[in-house]
Amino acid sequence: MKKFQASILGAAALAIALTAQAGDDRAKAVTVMKRDFHAKGIAGMDRLNEDGPQALCNRSHDQPPKPIAERLERDQLEAIKYPADGRFLGDWKSGERIAQNGRGMTWSDPGAGANGGSCYNCHQIGPNETSFGSIGNSLHQFGKTRGNSPQIQKYVYGKIYNAKAFTLCSNMPRFGHSGTLSEQQIKDLVALLLDPSSPVNK
């Protein structure tokens, strides 16, 4: 009888262990990383702490349950700080420089001063830059196909400020939310994409 009970207990324990396996590996991974990493330059250990969207996307392999994802997207959207002057279009020439610049936020970057947006790392944008990545979609002729309405301007500003407000597990960094780009820099990028005189829309 005792033996029988023990085997039932054993089977139950095994079942729990099996279902918990993935979670255990994940917990172990976080423990190992927090032990093995150290702060360097501007990159502190706090960077290993997941925030809400990161945690949800990590745990669901980028397939979060829709109601929870929508809830978190709404939180991200509400936290976007739009320009107080209500103007979204900056200088596209400056925007091109920001899009080209891949510096910023690493432990070898100084921290102060203007970071870049690393845009060309992942996106095709202007027609004169043939060295562009493909993790993101092509933004060539972005304004030409979508127009330049105030709604589009606000959308693009918000998307660059916080891409996770629109697609929670997007690969794109939250450039405003993370403090990488300033309000003016984001305006300049909006102009790069939407200004009719920008080469993107020629």
């Binding site: 396996q21 590996d25 994940r26 172990k28 991974a29 976080v30 190992v32 990383m33 032990r35 093995d36 990493f37 150290h38 702060a39 360097k40 990159a43 502190g44 250990m45 960077r47 290993l48 702490n49 997941e50 969207p53 990161q54 996307c57 990590n58 392999h61 936020m105 690493t106 432990w107 070898s108 060309y120 790392n121 992942c122 095709q124 202007g126 027609p127 004169n128 830059e129 043939t130 060295s131 562009f132 990545g133 493909s134 993790i135 060539h140 996770k164 690969n171 960094p173 939250r174 993370s178 403090g179 990488t180």
Partner: protein, 291 residues
Amino acid sequence: MPSIKLRVVLALSGFALACAAHAQQKDAAAPRKPAAQTKKAASAPKEAITAEFEKFREMMEEASPAELFEAKGEDLWKAKRGPKNTALDQCDLGLGPGVLKGAYVQMPRYFADADQVMDVERRIVHCMVTLQGFKAEDLARQPFSDESRTPDPVSLVTYVAGQSRGMKVAIPQKHPKEREAYEVGREIFNFRAGPWDFSCASCHGENGKRIRTQELPNLSSKEQAIRAFQGWPGYRMTGGLMHTLQWRMNDCFRQQRFPEPGYTSETIADLLTYMGVNANGHVYKGPGIKR
């Protein structure tokens, strides 16, 4: 098979030739550039750049400067060094003391004496500490190559890797800790955090993606994971330095906007287990050339 020293001389002369050829190719390519920048930025120019680089790499690999570091590593392996004035011939890389043939393509693996899963550099550092009496913290202080120096473990790893040239990757998954390293490595690979929300998978989780013109292998796939293994340790043309996978992992985490991982830490061993096991069955071509 010529001795390493002879091959180094060949490598040096071949390297000079390859550089000259590359310079010529560059000149020849220059006038084409404006034509490539016409109206629509199509994908053709990048593919041309990549193809050109691949051609150049093939030429370079015929006589790779990595062989210089293989030769230096061989000298270091055989020399009596460190506070204990000992050679590394008793260092066990998993196939028995001093057995180097095939060791590299079967690591990371579990080592009972350390009760750890160790990648090749972690193990070599372990041997330098336990057998030769070097201090781990000294070896970890400046572990990566720069203009002024190539750390000894880099040359040693390159030598050991050369002893697996042409062999199939066969990283073991027998010991429970080896299987755990794979699973934990996968979790680390997919762990998204930091100011830019990046994980390894953000760039290396899909087929056919690029950063600028640099093609990104999908390291979660069995077909492409070999590209994390192939060419490492590698002579990197950017800067002309010899680097190992310890450096590659370190610089990936820098670009991931993470804090810094410890040199030869478990984090790195787990990641290398995940990617290495995914690459099992592919043939390793030996130390190589990187862009």
